[in-house]
Symmetry: C2
Subunit: 322 residues, 2 copies
């Protein structure tokens, strides 16, 4: 039995070329000997690498963890390895990923919420929660999400709804904020929302940004947060101002991570199907690598998960004053 026969059988191209009996023999022998084709040789000869790069700004972010999970599973199901590339948000970091792509270490790149440099080569790339003309991207339906959040609060009786986002202008957060504003404007009776921005996507920064908002003379009776981490900051700030949730303050969050589950009461949240987001992005990427046409924009629906953090608005007495 020659090398080529083995290769044909093991790559599954033996149909109609190698007899079924021989195929079985080869497979069995391979299994017994524990034969494992050398990936580098296969890649060198075939010119294809069965690996994709997951370019993530911050592995520790619980939401990104869920997205990575979905992406890794989808990649594995297709026989692809997932190479983790933690990047930070800088252009230099993206450049390293592109280098890995050109070096053939990975066949494609998944960019998680990272805006690539203008003019960067985005061949073999799919974006998650970022948009760029001409490059396929998968994004959450934040318009529907923010509308659902605001509508819920309005139905509960709130007229003064605040917003907590972050100062960083990354696409995902800018988009959420814009969609929140649009949702508010659809309700003419609402007060113009107070917007607070945290310096970082951390609980401490969220609390620091939320605290002044909660100490205002006419403070909002409800706050919509762009992320569970920020919601945790609001909970901390509320405790600092001796405000109870949802008695004195209602909170709606955006993400659906374990951080929101840790809060007491569990935060009502716009739940993004993070794993699905990652899985879809991987499948788009693999399609793109296979030369198939892929849609430029895939929108993933979100759902509102009502839990314990929304109630009727507090009667603002002296306790609400500055």
């Amino acid at each position: 039995v020659t090398q080529s026969t083995v290769s044909l059988v093991l790559t599954g191209k033996g149909a109609g070329r190698v007899s079924t009996a021989l195929q079985a023999t080869v497979r069995q022998a391979a299994a017994e000997l524990g034969y494992q084709p050398l990936e580098s040789a296969r890649a060198l000869r075939s010119g294809r690498t069965e690996a994709i790069g997951l370019v993530v700004p911050d592995i520790t972010n619980p939401f990104l963890g869920l997205v990575m999970h979905g992406a890794q599973q989808a990649a594995g199901a297709a026989g692809f390895a997932a190479v983790l590339m933690e990047s930070g948000r800088g252009a230099a970091d993206h450049r390293r990923a592109v280098q890995a792509l050109r070096g053939g270490l990975v066949g494609g790149l998944l960019l998680f919420g990272i805006a690539p440099e203008r003019g960067a080569d985005l061949q073999g790339t799919v974006l998650i929660e970022v948009q760029r003309r001409g490059t396929p991207s998968v994004v959450l339906d934040s318009g529907a999400g923010m509308t659902a959040a605001v509508d819920l609060l309005v139905r509960a009786g709130h007229r003064a709804i605040g917003y907590l986002g972050i100062t960083d202008r990354r696409w995902s957060f800018e988009h959420r904020q814009r969609q929140f504003s649009a949702a508010v404007q659809r309700h003419p009776g609402l007060r113009a929302p107070v917007v607070a921005l945290a310096e970082d996507l951390t609980i401490a920064a969220g609390a620091a940004a939320a605290a002044p908002m909660l100490r205002r003379r006419r403070r909002p009776t409800a706050v919509v947060c762009a992320d569970d981490i920020l919601a945790a900051g609001v909970y901390a700030a509320a405790a600092g101002s001796a405000l109870t949730i949802p008695g004195d303050l209602s909170v709606v969050s955006y993400a659906g991570t374990i951080v929101g589950d840790a809060l007491v009461p569990h935060v009502t949240t716009v739940r993004a199907p993070a794993g699905d987001l990652g899985g879809r992005a991987v499948r788009l990427l693999l399609d793109r690598l296979a030369g198939e046409p892929v849609p430029e924009r895939t929108v993933v629906p979100v759902t509102l998960s009502e839990r314990g953090s929304v109630g009727p608005p507090a009667q603002l007495g002296p306790a609400g004053g500055a």
Copy 2:
């Protein structure tokens, strides 16, 4: 200029073989042309792969996220790629990782809290928070951590200290529980601790396991948790029993993740330097791959981070009864 000269220069083996002037010329030309050596060819010829596999049971676990972060950074600093291999806890999953190792996709494996099959080949492997004779491992100093936790509670006046772990007998959690017991036994005045075990490492399972403990006639006045996620469960269960923290119940946790930070008040926690844990494991692995001798056991110290969840024991009146 021939191929070999370029190779010599770019791999840094040109010293004393290629003139400095030529080296500079080659480097500049490579930079201008954007030349990037093909990884597969390099790996095939040299027989070495500059990638390691991160075998993680659950990417979404915030503590493992921190460990992965440290591991990825350390690998990147050494010019190694990190291939993410989400495994679950099964033996089959480890087998897939070993296959990737034999296929040369990665040169070594980092096993995160996963006990490999008995008799498995652990060449080129380093373990994190697991131990196995003959294989290098990096573990937390949970003995010191649990001692610090119990000592703090005893100093605060507690005599009835409960423990919340998980039913799964994975090494890390078994070890923590054992060390907790040992720490308690060092204080003769303490009541035998009530131990509750959650079915899963989730907030809901933690709450479900903690609730009966908190409803006991002589309930513990303090609880030590094996993980921040379980502590979040205790917070939820306490709220369900209308117990305040730390007024009615003190809580000490173990990890130091964002989940503990999300709790109000922030949970007092045995803080494990997760990133450092991952970084050290990577450096050990790279040393091992380079053929250098590495210690079989590396113990990483932990620190107690005192925050708002510990106070003096509650006076148990009728409120504490069943």
